[in-house]
Symmetry: C2
Subunit: 270 residues, 2 copies
Amino acid sequence: MSEASHPFDQAIALVPQGDGEFLGHTHPGYANFIGPYGGITAAQTLNAVLLHPQRLGEPVAFTVNFAAALADGPFTAKARPARTNRSTQHWIIELLQNGEVVATGTALTAVRRETWSGHEAVMPEVPRPLDVPRTPRKGVEWLHRYDMRFLEGMVPRKWEGQGADESVTRLWVRDEPLRPLDFASLAALADNFFPRIWLRRATQTPIGTVTMTVYFHADSAVLAQTGTSFLLLQAKGQGFRNGYFDHTGQLWNEAGELLATTTQVVYYKE
Amino acid sequence: MSEASHPFDQAIALVPQGDGEFLGHTHPGYANFIGPYGGITAAQTLNAVLLHPQRLGEPVAFTVNFAAALADGPFTAKARPARTNRSTQHWIIELLQNGEVVATGTALTAVRRETWSGHEAVMPEVPRPLDVPRTPRKGVEWLHRYDMRFLEGMVPRKWEGQGADESVTRLWVRDEPLRPLDFASLAALADNFFPRIWLRRATQTPIGTVTMTVYFHADSAVLAQTGTSFLLLQAKGQGFRNGYFDHTGQLWNEAGELLATTTQVVYYKE
């Protein structure tokens, strides 16, 4: 990996050790409050499948479970094709540090055929990204790896416990610096949302994503067409109960194509 | 397992073989077109975690991947606690037939604490279940294991290719015969929806669910309160592209409590 490479490529770089094992390393550019940004862990997990010599087709579904906060340093990624069919393949993935599992995952890759297509989750009508000012976001390092332009549902300005009934957030996002979109960066973008519980409560309760699922509707051709342009991200909470909430989300490109949908469960302390 | 036991309990019964391995068997009462109803496979997969002697807490999130159609007959379920923390535990599960993987899964179980709670996915206003006639459904055997009362988005009556723009389905469902709700049956109910592509296209293209995720908002106390009453199930498609679509869904009890949310990806032929 050259000095000039993009921080995202540096972060998801995995060195093959043979037999589906890879050696990776956390990256300071994607540091979060405790451990790395979950989106980068997701991308590293998926990349073990993407780089696997036996991979068949492209990602269709991907679930990553954040089992523990990663420590700064190296990790091992193990990807195993549990079942290979004619056009589909099912993967089990584990990330380990010091012999302990820190993330698990499953993925479905598939060779797609052209069929009837017709998205139902239509992109909302919103201003174009360059007509919206970049939202200044301070704090943890990974926020600086994205150009975010919030349209709705920004992090509360006042933490006074006066939350909203609804937790919809809409924002334009792209990598900073620019980088052409691929499956790994799309998986990372799916974790870009700040926790819905903060919107609902306007109280900065400690949180941590415990699982995220991403369904890919785009194939590599659509991702290549999307290139370095902005994605519209939307998320909305569903259930909030006794320490865990979930949200559903959608990611469109500027042309309004639905690239991916996502859900996640987030732990919250109180 | 006694002759008198409920078909669902017969179907999800697993005989411990030690070291997280269980022996199960497909059940003719839950047969689908090819292989068993995916919901029963999901319940069998989750049950390997529920019955595991090292389990900590109750299910919060569960993903099952349908890697191959199960053949009628025995299967082995393997559940492994990949990571156990103070209050959470991450599981990897595999179902095998003749040494080949037929399903994979991950689950998160957790000991929950009482916190602020406030569901955002509110149950729509619909008639009470007993005011709605039972919907006659013919065909595969598993349909007879549920009392379904469709409110909206029924399977098309005419297969003439005149589909709908939206694929919303709402129905009341409970086990038939009655059985008190638990985590396994809730997971099974999450797969109760007929494929959204049929609503969109009014064409009976061959389909198969390839992955399903269920997030549990209810704990065992809420499930016990719900008992044998009806659940309101709702689903809506999101993306349909080149052979795969996804939907999001919600499951409420009659009191309007959000018990679970779910997503799945379904393969379709054309």
